[in-house]
Structure formats: C-alpha cells, structure tokens
Symmetry: C2
Subunit: 333 residues, 2 copies
C-alpha cells in the first residue's frame, strides 16, 4: 500500500512521450499494490486513435517479487483476456510495440484504467458476477499460448512454514505450528492430480475486483497468475469471498452465489467438485504460509500493512469441519 | 504520503450520496498528504448542474494536526480564492450546504480535482507563474473575512528547537544546535513589524503547485494557511523554489523569475523588499524546526517520509551569506 519510488513530472512526461496517448495532464501516486508502485495517470488522449481527451491509465512500476522475465507473460495475459471479452485491463504498448519499458533500472508498464470500486462485504449478486468473470477467464485461458509454473504451490507452502519454524509460528498463535504441520501432511497425501488446468489468477480477492453495482467492471493484479487447476483458482476465490474478512463468519449465500455464477459459464466436472474441499484447505495454507512469513519478517510499522495469518486459519478450520457442505449452497452452513 | 484509514466502497458510496455529484464510479487512495488521507474519486457527474460525466474530486479525510474548528476557515478560503480567479480548488458542498461531513468520527471534505503535475526542478517560466499565482492569492485574501493566527511563527520555532534540545539536535548534525540557537536569537532581535499582511499559504512548495507546462493549474494544500506578512509567504516560497531540493545549489534564474512574477501582480513596498533577507532566514528556521522535530520523533520506517532538516540549514547558510543579494535577480548569486 505504497508508492516506493519517486517519479518526477519530468520523468513521467518523458515516459509518456513514448506512447501514443497524448500529453501528461495529471499523475497521482496511488496507495495500491504491495510489490509495485502505481500511479493514476491522465493524458490528453491519443491523437491517432480518436480516444476522447482525459484518457486514464495505471502506470505500474515493478519494485520487487516480480521477475522481469515474467512480465511478457503477465502483460500478454492481460491482452489475451481483454481480447477475449474478459473484464481485464489491456496493456498499452509503446510506439515501438513494447509492452513494458525500463526507467531507472526498473520495469514499468502502462495499463488501461478500468472504472469500479472494490467491495469489502460482497452481496450475493456481486459474488455471482465474480464467479461468472472467473469462469470466463478460465475459458479464455485455453487459447493463451503461454504458461507459467506455479511457484506458490504445496511444496512452497511447506518450505515457507518450515522456514518460519515452530517457535516463531507459536509467537503468532500457540496452536498454529501443530495445525500447520498437520495440515501440510494431510495435503501432501490428499492433493488431487489430473484436474482441468490452465492459467489461473490465483489471488482473486475482493480488492482485486472492481465493481459497478453488481457488475464486475475489472479483474486486476494478475501478478500471481500461474498454470494450475481451475478448481484450485475457484477454491482460492471461494476462500477469499465467502467469509467475513477475519474468517469468523461463513457467508453461505455468498458462497452459493459464487459457485452458481461460476458454473453458469463453466460447469464443474464431478471430480473437480469433489476436490473442492481439499483444494480450499490448500488455498488456506497458501495464504497462511505467505502471511505468516510476512508477519514474522515485516516490521510492524513498515510501509506494507501486514495481514493476519489467523484470518485464514479460521477459514481452514471451517473447511476442515464443513467438508463438502461448504460447497453445497445455502444449506451448507 | 499514505492513506491512514480504510474506507470501503459502501462507506464511500454512502458519503457521495450526500452530494449532488452522481454515482460513485471509481475511488483510489492516493499517496499524498502527511496529515490527511486522500482519495481520487470519480463520479457519474452532477445531474443538477450539467457537469459532464466522469467528474473527479479529491476526498480528504482530516487525520491529525488539523483542528476541526479550523476547517470552516481552510475550506472557506479555498472557495473565496477560487471565486476570485485564483487557481485554487473549490470545496464541494453537500446537499445541505455543509463544507465538510463527519464519517467514523473524522471530518471529510470533497474538493474539486484540478489537473496538473508537480515539478521537481522548476524552470524559470514555471517560477514566474508561481510568483504570479501567489501574488494573486495575496490580493484576493484582502476581501476574505476570516483570519487564523499563525501558530508556526517565531515563538513556535523557538519552542520546538528548545524542546528538541541541543543533544538530540547534535545527533542530526553536530553544528545544528549552535546554529539554530544563534539564529533564533538573531531573528528575535531582527524580525520586522508592520508589514502588509493577510491570509498566506505559508507552505507553497513545488509539491503544492500543479502545473501544465509553464501554467499554474492549481495551488493546493492550504492547511498551514494563516494570517502573516505577505512578504514572509513570498520568502517561504522563495526558499522552497530557488534551490536544488537539498539546498546545495541556489538557482538564481529561478529566484529572479519568481520575484518578477510576484511583482508583476503585486509590486513589493520598499520596506517589504528590504525585509526579505530576514524573512527568508525565518522561513528556513520554520522548516528546520518542524523537520528536526519530525526527524527526531518519527521512526525511520514509519509511513511518513522524514524530510532532512539539513536541506534548510544549507538554505539558511546561503541566505546568511548572500543577504539582499539573494533577492536582486540574476546577478545575486
């Protein structure tokens, strides 16, 4: 939640001049993104393409965690999904056709601005719309020629949790080490194979979805996108949307609407559906491990807001107890 | 440089509904302001006044340092200056006519969005424009019926420096305590009286000025505005604009252009001009004292970027040596 790098007006105007978007009118650093600095940019609009004046863009500077070698994948994915009718921002290419440029040794990309706001407490209508939109990206991903290995899968959760160590984890919550090690053992023995797969968002939290009323106007922040089971992506989204933020309350109507929305576009195979309880427990471990790592390694007063790993421990406990009931609609809770 | 408070989409939409600005389309927390949280808001536009769709506003939440009792002054000042042709954003009043509202115990105001970007290294043309714009606010201030006591004047600098204490100041720079105490004694004996006065901005740094090319499109952040000598406000602006950011290089062309721009609108009285060297030294002490205080009392990794008090110690040393030459145009350096 920060702008890590100062870009002066001259830097910005010089950068914008490489794109066919007109003159720089305004630039505001925005408090979004943990790994990137972002600016909301307004320009006088492309002279070449008849865009109306006051064109807006998000300028993203890749600060950390993101490998420059992955940028063609991430930015190409945006273009592919947008071209296939998904509510995803296009990458603006510079006059030479490049999807990103370097400035001061860092990569920057100019991304289409999409309207909409992120919701904290989604309605069932909004959850249905998110399910639909996620399914559309999975269908469109089929024709995307690139892939990216999942670097935050089961092996990574295991490595992160072991690197944190039982003692440090117990400092977060005394029950956390036993629960995490036990769960990792369970997942190692139960993780499914052979499910339909392709490029997945893998991080579709409410703050990565822009909405206008119940309509999804934008899916953003694809920087964890990787090749994985589509049903795992749905499970991540389910864990992100179907609970109060702290994980204390399961919202069965939201859960049911999300699944209905998804299946209205891409019906699940029966073996995908039956894998959801395990996949959702894996989704919880994914965020427990990364949040525990951040929690233990981020100073409390740093620029980045630490997220509480216990929010996902509570979700995990729910999924453990509910099993398949978590995915059976309104009667499930 | 942060957004201190989370406002959800529902909070924002509920707030916006009190204004005649249409529906909420987008809201981005922006990384500006040390005492406030700010959002760049887009709405569908007022239905009542024929504003074009895509109207933009800055939503400011007053977090600290600013007394709610001062808000009618600050927000009324914006309206007064805007109405008198100064490039200052208007306050948007809610349907009941109120200039600010309370949300979660904090005051918020909706402010007109102005285009433009802040420059790091101003050109002489830009400095001339800033001088003009500052002088226009001084002329317009004459008809503003309210006043606000200067709470960051000589007595405050003295109190802050003494509260910091010689030992802590020496931790910033070994020469700082002697220089600061010596300078405060000099200023106490030399501060002028009876100069033309009125409401002044008192903090017109480049990041509080929006520019489109050489044109000043916005003067913003009037939250240090107070009744003071107009020539002191000019001296603050001179110290803020006429040096490289670290204060090591005096930029005589920029200095001359700023003064010329100011006097093209409001010629200085001879006794104002002769007071400038002392007023500029006071301006330096104003920022040395507040920055030293922040430096000593802000954790290095806090949300707020600490500014180096030595940037203004270097300016002070320049003004001490240059005297009236700092204000005599291109031959002055």
């Amino acid at each position: 939640m920060a702008v890590y790098t100062h870009l002066g007006a001259q830097d910005l105007a010089g950068l914008i001049a490489h794109y066919d978007v007109g003159e720089l009118i305004s630039a505001k650093g925005i408090a979004e993104g943990v790994s990137n600095s972002n600016w909301l940019i307004e320009t006088s609009g492309s002279t070449g393409k008849g865009d109306k004046p006051g064109a807006r863009f998000i300028l993203t500077m890749y600060e950390r965690r993101i490998e420059p070698d992955d940028l063609p994948f991430f930015l190409g994915l945006l273009d592919h999904l947008a071209a296939h009718g998904c509510p995803v921002p296009r990458t603006i290419h510079d006059r030479s056709g490049a999807a990103f440029r370097m400035i001061g040794g860092k990569a920057v990309a100019l991304i289409e601005f999409l309207p909409g706001v992120s919701v904290d407490r989604p309605t069932t209508g909004q959850a249905f719309g998110v399910g639909e939109a996620l399914a559309r990206t999975h269908l469109a991903a089929g024709s995307f020629g690139q892939s990216r290995m999942q670097t935050l899968g089961l092996a990574a959760w295991d490595a992160i949790i072991h690197d944190c160590g039982a003692e440090a984890l117990a400092g977060i919550d005394s029950a956390l080490p036993a629960l995490a090690f036990d769960e990792l053992s369970f997942l190692a023995g139960s993780w499914p194979g052979g499910l339909p797969h392709g490029v997945c968002h893998c991080d579709l939290f409410p703050d990565n979805v822009l909405m206008l009323g119940d309509k999804v106007s934008g899916l953003i922040d694809f920087y964890f996108a990787a090749t994985d089971f589509f049903a795992y992506d749905l499970a991540v989204t389910h864990a992100a949307w179907s609970f109060s933020m702290d994980g204390r309350q399961f919202r069965d109507g939201v859960s049911a609407a999300l699944l209905e929305g998804y299946e209205s576009i891409r019906p699940l195979m029966e073996y995908e559906r039956s894998a959801l309880p395990v996949l959702a427990r894996g989704a919880c471990m994914r965020f427990i491990s990364s949040r525990a790592d951040d929690w233990l390694n981020t100073p409390p007063d740093a620029l980045v807001t630490r997220k509480d790993p216990m929010d996902f421990v509570r979700r995990l406990q729910f999924y453990r107890e509910a099993g398949a009931r978590a995915f059976t609609g309104r009667s499930g809770a």
